[in-house]
């Protein structure tokens, strides 16, 4: 893999991670299965970057390729401007990663596991005590890893990543299997790291998680980038900018007729009208007032990251968390189109 991974319009110096045309296929009984196909991913330096996609969309495979654990078939990758995997040894000290579940030696204590890792990178022995303190595991440091709860294992994995005091932390589905307290703890940790100037790349298929913690996100499906940008841009950008408004009005039938004639999509939800397609909520009040219909409630419904994600990745995989009653085959009106970085891309 040669050449710069960043396109001309992106300053590579501002990127922690960049991939271009990243592709990986696996040989299976049924032929070759494409896990990642032409992934273009940019993760800016600093902040938390959510790496979203349904299960099987290629998130973990992409992370493994970045870390040199598996080989890419084609494409380029760079971390802090260093091409990987070729220059991974140069930059590895700046990366801390947890890929899928934490993996340590089950019969060794937490301290022993960290001592070995610290020894491997030449970290001072005091570093182990410090990171164990940081994640609140000092009291259980002598216990065998296999006796740990999932949350403790996750915290130990975070402690391991902190041994290097890395600039980039990669967390792959870090909240899988955690209880709500554990999830909040991980979220707080990620935010705290970002506030200390670190770059956190967190992959997840749990949208609410990422929405609360991420500054920027990339959404992938079928191994391709579907959308990328700040959370605000992804949620509020493109066709989502003026999507839905809930309107309370006394004469629902007349209001429905007026708004429909104005080219808006209208449906009733109890005593409320749900209006899609208005560029500006003020247009709705103006049109209704023109027919002497006065609104008693007007609530623009802000699209959530989940709805954007669902519309982008509809039908992509079993991990797509669909709200009850919604079909993966019917993207919401006004959602960005499938299939390319142009949909909501920066």
């Amino acid at each position: 893999m040669t050449g710069t991974a960043a396109p001309p319009d992106v300053d590579p110096a501002t990127l922690a991670v960049s991939t271009r045309g990243l592709r990986k296929t696996y040989r299976t009984r049924h032929g070759r299965q494409v896990a990642v196909q032409g992934l273009d991913l940019d993760v800016p330096i600093g902040g938390v970057h959510g790496f979203l996609g349904p299960n099987g969309s290629g998130k973990t495979t992409s992370i493994r390729m970045l870390l040199g654990l598996i080989r890419a078939d084609s494409g380029t990758m760079s971390i802090f401007g260093h091409e990987v995997p070729e220059q991974l040894p140069t930059v590895i000290d700046r990366i801390g990663a947890i890929v899928e579940q934490p993996k340590f030696f089950p019969n060794f204590s937490a301290r022993k596991n960290l001592d070995l890792l610290a020894g491997g990178i030449g970290a001072p022995s005091t570093a182990v005590g410090k990171v164990l303190d940081d994640v609140g595991l000092s009291d259980r440091a002598k216990d065998r890893y296999r006796t740990y709860s999932l949350g403790m294992k996750q915290r130990l994995a975070i402690a391991a990543t902190l041994l290097k005091d890395p600039d980039l932390l990669i967390f792959d589905e870090p909240t899988n299997g955690l209880d709500p307290a554990g999830i909040r703890e991980i979220r707080t940790t990620m935010r705290g790291l970002a506030e200390r100037g670190k770059t956190v790349l967190v992959s997840s298929h749990i949208l609410a998680e990422v929405e609360q913690v991420a500054d920027t996100v990339s959404i992938i499906g079928h191994g391709r980038l579907l959308a990328s940008g700040s959370v605000a841009e992804i949620i509020g950008g493109g066709a989502h900018a003026a999507t839905t408004v809930r309107v309370g009005v006394a004469d629902l039938a007349t209001a429905t007729r007026v708004l429909t004639e104005a080219g808006l999509s209208v449906r009733a939800d109890g005593e409320i009208l749900v209006v899609d397609g208005a560029a500006d909520p003020a247009d709705i009040t103006r049109r209704l007032a023109h027919h002497e219909l006065y609104v008693n409630e007007l609530v623009p419904v802000r699209a959530g990251l989940e709805s954007v994600f669902l519309s982008l990745t509809a039908g992509e995989g079993p991990g797509t968390h669909l709200p009850l009653g919604e079909s993966p085959g019917s993207p919401k009106q006004g959602s960005p189109k499938h299939g390319g970085p142009e949909a909501g891309a920066l």
């Binding site: 040199g68 654990l69 590895i92 990366i95 890929v99 993996k103 340590f104 030696f105 491997g120 990178i121």
Partner: protein, 327 residues
């Protein structure tokens, strides 16, 4: 060196490594028990029984000895027509007490053979620990974790293989020292030490070094195969299959394979030479006559064969480890 130090630390911290030391010591203890039994003087009742048998044989010899010798010599003369070198040893047939009793061996006589006898089981234990050392990293997933700290796979691989070898050295030294020390105690307790000369101790030391090298080599080979196959049970299955099919069935069917069988070459390294038999047949007066001919595998042959196996295993493990995805 830093990686090697860490890997040696990990190797010696593993429970299986500790169990393996206990297992090796158990093997040694069983061997020492066997030596003690061998060195133990025969009970009086058994000696009396032997004496009675001997006296019966002497009496029979006195009555029929001349006839037995004559018959023997006549048979020998007939056989020598085909092969003049044949010697039936007719003059040796008079019963002598030494042939009817059991003379307990001394430590001095047995000492050069003590460690070579233990070579195969001890090498197997070392191999098992080596396999598990690498394979466990894949089964627990910690190899992926480690590679996020040290992505240079060649360094990682060789530090692990070298650690398996290096960490085996002190363990092997202790186990072999216990074996020799225990044997000495077993023979001393039965007053059968004999005269241990400096040369004899030298032979013991040399056999110890050879068995040590086998243990170290097999630990490294095990680690390499652990990286290659990534599962301890799978490697053990392959080893068992090899032992049954190649060392057992093919080895007995195809005599030309014999000098290349691992067990024989291991014994050649451990003992300085190993022997095996081949059947050589020829036609004599229209009839096929076969005889069992003893062949030997030299120390050099054994060392080269075992060295080649080690190199091939380590290189295969390295190439695979460098290229295969770690998931």
């Amino acid at each position: 060196m830093r990686l090697l130090r860490v890997e040696v630390d990990r190797f010696t911290s593993r429970r299986l490594a500790r169990f393996a030391v206990l297992g090796a010591l158990a093997i040694v203890a069983i061997a020492i028990l066997g030596m003690w039994q061998t060195a133990k003087p025969l009970p009086e009742s058994q000696v009396a029984m032997m004496r009675a048998d001997f006296e019966i044989a002497v009496q029979e010899w006195e009555e029929n000895g001349d006839e037995i010798i004559a018959t023997c010599e006549a048979d020998e003369a007939v056989a020598q027509k085909d092969d003049p070198s044949i010697d039936f040893g007719c003059e040796m047939q008079e019963p002598v007490w030494e042939n009817w009793t059991w003379e307990e061996p001394t430590f001095a006589e047995e000492s050069p053979n003590i460690l070579p006898v233990l070579a195969v089981p001890l090498a197997f234990v070392s191999f098992l620990v080596g396999v598990s050392f690498l394979a466990a990293e894949f089964t627990t997933g910690s190899m992926g974790n480690w590679l996020t700290f040290e992505p240079r796979r060649t360094r990682v691989y060789f530090s692990k293989v070298a650690a398996a070898a290096v960490a085996t050295v002190p363990v092997a030294l202790v186990v072999l020292a216990v074996a020799i020390g225990g044997a000495w105690v077993a023979y001393t307790a039965n007053d059968h030490v004999g005269t241990m000369t400096t040369d004899r101790w030298g032979e013991v030391a040399v056999s110890g070094v050879r068995v040590l090298l086998l243990m170290v080599g097999f630990a490294a080979l095990g680690a390499a195969l652990g990286a290659l196959v990534r599962h301890t049970a799978a490697v053990m299955g392959i080893v068992l299959g090899y032992a049954v099919v190649v060392e057992g069935m093919l080895g007995s069917l195809v005599e030309a394979l014999q000098p290349y069988l691992l067990r024989l070459n291991m014994m050649a390294v451990a003992s300085g030479e190993a022997t095996y038999g081949t059947e050589e047949c020829r036609m004599v007066d229209g009839a096929q006559v076969c005889e069992w001919v003893q062949q030997s595998v030299s120390l050099t042959h054994g060392a080269v064969t075992m060295g080649a196996v080690l190199v091939v295993g380590v290189v295969l493990g390295w190439v695979t480890f460098r290229r295969r995805d770690v998931v």
